[in-house]
Symmetry: C2
Subunit: 386 residues, 2 copies
C-alpha cells in the first residue's frame, strides 16, 4: 500500500476578514497552494478529489460541492467533513486515507471558517445546549474548571498557565499569517479582563476568519510536485465523553491520549521523537494539559514544562511556533489544516523566523466539542521528513 505525502500548502492571512466572502477565502487559499507547489501543478488534470473541512458556522457554504465553484474543480469527488474543532485535521485524515486506499492519487484538503459572521451564535452552542449551556457551561467556563482543577491537584500556578499565552503571542509576532500579533507579559495576561476564572482575555484564542489548503499525493506521484515531500506517518482520532457527570478526569483529555497513542503506534515512534508540534491551544490551559496528554511530560508537569522553556521556540519540544490558536486565531475548519501546513513548512526547513532546529518529525493536534454534542473529539497527525 502506498503512503501519503504532503506536497504543498497554501494559506491566507488570518484575521477579521469582513472584506472577503467565504468563497474569496477558499479561492485565495487554493491559489496560494497552487503557487506553492515546487514543480508546478495542472490542477484540473492533477487533482483527483478533495476533502473540505468547515463547521459552516456562518451558513455560507456547506457540502463538498460548495468548493467546486471556489476552486473550479468541477466533476471531482469533494466530501465535506465536520468534526467540531478537529474538522480540518479529520478532513486531512480522510483525504490521506483515500490516497492510501488508492481511491485517488492526488487529493486537496481545504478548510475555511468565517467565525465573525456567526450571526446565530453557534460557537456558543458548542457543548450540549439543552443540558449545559443554560447552566453556564460555555467553553471558557468548561476550560476554566479544567484550569482550577489542575491548579488544585498539581499545584500548577496562574503564572505557569499565563506562560503559554506569553510564549505563543511572542511566536505569533514572527508568523506573518497570525491574526493577533502582539507580545504580552505574564502580568499583561493576569491583568487582562476575566473571562471565566482563572482564564482572562489573553488566555483565550481570538475570533478569527481564515482558510488554508494542503495537497496530498501518493508515493508514486509525490515527487512530481516537489523534491521534498513530507510523509504522513501516523494518525489517530478518538471520540470521548464530554458530559460533566461522565468526566473521568478533569485534568486531562482521554480523547487526546487515545488519539496520540494510536498515532505514535502507527508511526512507530514515541512522544520523545517529536521535534515540533502544533497543538490545540484554544485556551492557555488547553496547551498546558496537552503537553501531558501527548506524553511530552509527566502528568502534573505541564506548568513546569512551559515555565522552564521546554516548549519554547528554542526548547527541546517547540510547541506552537506559529503562535498557536492564541495568536494565529481559530477559524475552526481551517485550524487543523493550517497546523499541518505549518508542520509541513517546518519539516522542509522553510518556516522562516519560526523555524525550529532541523526537525524530522512533527505533530499536529486538535481537540473539540461538537455543536450541541455530548462528546469530545481529538485528532492527531504525525508528519515525517523521509
Amino acid at each position: 500500500m502506498t503512503d501519503a505525502y504532503v506536497v504543498g500548502s497554501g494559506i491566507i492571512d488570518f484575521g477579521e476578514l469582513y472584506d472577503q466572502s467565504f468563497d474569496d477565502m477558499l479561492e485565495s487559499a487554493y491559489l496560494d497552494l497552487l503557487e506553492d507547489v515546487d514543480h508546478g501543478i495542472d490542477p484540473t488534470a492533477d487533482i483527483d478529489a478533495a476533502w473540505y473541512g468547515t463547521i459552516d458556522i456562518a451558513n455560507e457554504g456547506s457540502s463538498g460541492s460548495s468548493v467546486a465553484h471556489a476552486t473550479g474543480l468541477f466533476e471531482k469527488p469533494i466530501t465535506r467533513v465536520e468534526n467540531a474543532c478537529a474538522t480540518g485535521s479529520d478532513a486531512f485524515r480522510n483525504a490521506s486515507q483515500a490516497v492510501r486506499a488508492d481511491d485517488c492519487e492526488v487529493a486537496l484538503v481545504i478548510g475555511a471558517e468565517k467565525m465573525l459572521d456567526d450571526t446565530e451564535g453557534l460557537i456558543a452552542s458548542a457543548a450540549l445546549e439543552r443540558l449545559w449551556r443554560g447552566r453556564g457551561v460555555t467553553m471558557p467556563a468548561y476550560f476554566g474548571m479544567r484550569a482550577t482543577r489542575h491548579m488544585e491537584e498539581y499545584g500548577t500556578t496562574r503564572e505557569q498557565i499565563a506562560e503559554v499565552s506569553v510564549k505563543n503571542h511572542e511566536n505569533g509576532t514572527k508568523y506573518p499569517h497570525a491574526h493577533q500579533q502582539f507580545e504580552c507579559s505574564v502580568e499583561d495576561v493576569e491583568n487582562s479582563p476575566t473571562v471565566s476564572y482563572p482564564l482572562n482575555l489573553y488566555d483565550c484564542c481570538p475570533v478569527t476568519d481564515g482558510a488554508c489548503a494542503v495537497l496530498i499525493a501518493s508515493e508514486d506521484r509525490a515527487r512530481e510536485f516537489t523534491d521534498d515531500p513530507i510523509r504522513h506517518a501516523g494518525w489517530g482520532l478518538s471520540s470521548d465523553t464530554f458530559q460533566r457527570e461522565n468526566d473521568r478526569a478533569l485534568t486531562n483529555f482521554p480523547a487526546t491520549r487515545q488519539a496520540s497513542s494510536r498515532a505514535y503506534e502507527r508511526a512507530g515512534i514515541g512522544p520523545e521523537d517529536v521535534d515540533v508540534a502544533e497543538v490545540h491551544d484554544c485556551f492557555s490551559i488547553t496547551e498546558l494539559v496537552t503537553y501531558e496528554d501527548l506524553g511530552f511530560c509527566a502528568d502534573g508537569e505541564g506548568g513546569r514544562f512551559v515555565e522552564e522553556g521546554y516548549s519554547h521556540l528554542d526548547g527541546e519540544t517547540p510547541v506552537n511556533p506559529s503562535g498557536g490558536l492564541l495568536s494565529k486565531g481559530h477559524p475552526i475548519g481551517a485550524t487543523g489544516v493550517a497546523q499541518i501546513a505549518e508542520i509541513y513548512e517546518q519539516l522542509r526547513g522553510e518556516a522562516g523566523a519560526i523555524q525550529v532546529d532541523d526537525p524530522s518529525i512533527g505533530l499536529q493536534h486538535n481537540i473539540g466539542i461538537g455543536r450541541n454534542a455530548t462528546g469530545a473529539v481529538s485528532c492527531v497527525n504525525l508528519l515525517e521528513r523521509p
Copy 2:
C-alpha cells in the same frame, strides 16, 4: 488490498417521529443493526470506527462524537460526513475507503435526520440563498423546470412522470419501514395539489424523520459476521455546478453521469448488469431523469422506461423496490444508508415482499444540492453478491 463488505444493516420505521429524540433514533437503528448481524457481534471489541452522516437540519447533534453517546462507542474514531442529499452514501464511501486503506477492519456507518424539527427552515435554504431562493428557485421549482424541459425536449408526458410516483407508492405499501404507505393512481397524482408545475404533491417526497445503520468489514473479517457478505464493488462521487447560468443540461444531471460511470468502471460492469437499484427520487421527475443518467435507458427514454414497466418490481431493472424517497421518505443523513441497507437485503434474498428475482448486482444513488451551495453532488455505490 482488501475489499470492503457489508455484513449487517439496521433501520427504524421512517415517519413523523415526534416521540423520539435524535439520540433515540440513532440508538434504535444501531441496536437493530447489532441484532441483524447473523453471527452476532461484540460491538465494543469488534467495531473499530464509525462514519456518521447527517446534515443536522434540526441542530440536534453534529460532530462525530455525537454518535458516541447514542451507541456507547466511546474511544473510537467517529467522523461526520455531510454532503447534502448524498450525505449517507458519502459517509458509506468514506467508511469503505477506511477499510480498504486498512485503517480499520470493521466500520459502522450510521445516518440520521430529524426533518420535522427543521425549525430554521434549512431545507428551504438548499440552493444558494443569496442568489436563488429569493427569486423562487426552491427545490420543487428547480425540479419542476427540469420536468417541463424534459417534456418539451423529449415529449415526455405528465402521465409518464406520474407513473414513477404510482410505482413507488405501490412498492412502499410492501416495505414495512416506509413512511407513507398508500397506493395512488396516475389520476390521484394529477389531481393532488400543485406544488410547482408540473409537480404535484404526490410527485414530491414527504418530510420524514429516520435513521439507519450498516456495518462494513474487511475481507478477512466479513465471514466472522455472516456467511453471506455483500461486496462493495464500485463507487463514484462527483461535484458539479448548480448555478442556473452554468447549467449545461436541464434534462440530465452531469454529476450522476460522472459518478455512475466511475462506479461502473471500478466494478468492471455496465448499467445492463444492474439487477436492482435504489435511486434518488426526491421528485418523480428525478427518478425518470436518473434512468437516463445511470444508463438504464437512452436519453429521452425515461418516460417510456417507467411506463412500459422496465423499472417495476417485476421489470428488467427494478428501481426503488422499497418505495424510494417518494414513499419511504427522505431523512437526509439516513437516506443513502437506508438505500444501501435495502440493496444489501435484496442481494441476500431477504427483502420479503419487495424481493426482486435473484439479483447479484445492486446500485445505490443520490443526488443533492447543498445548503446555500452553488454545486450539485452525486454519489453512486455498487454492491455485488460475491
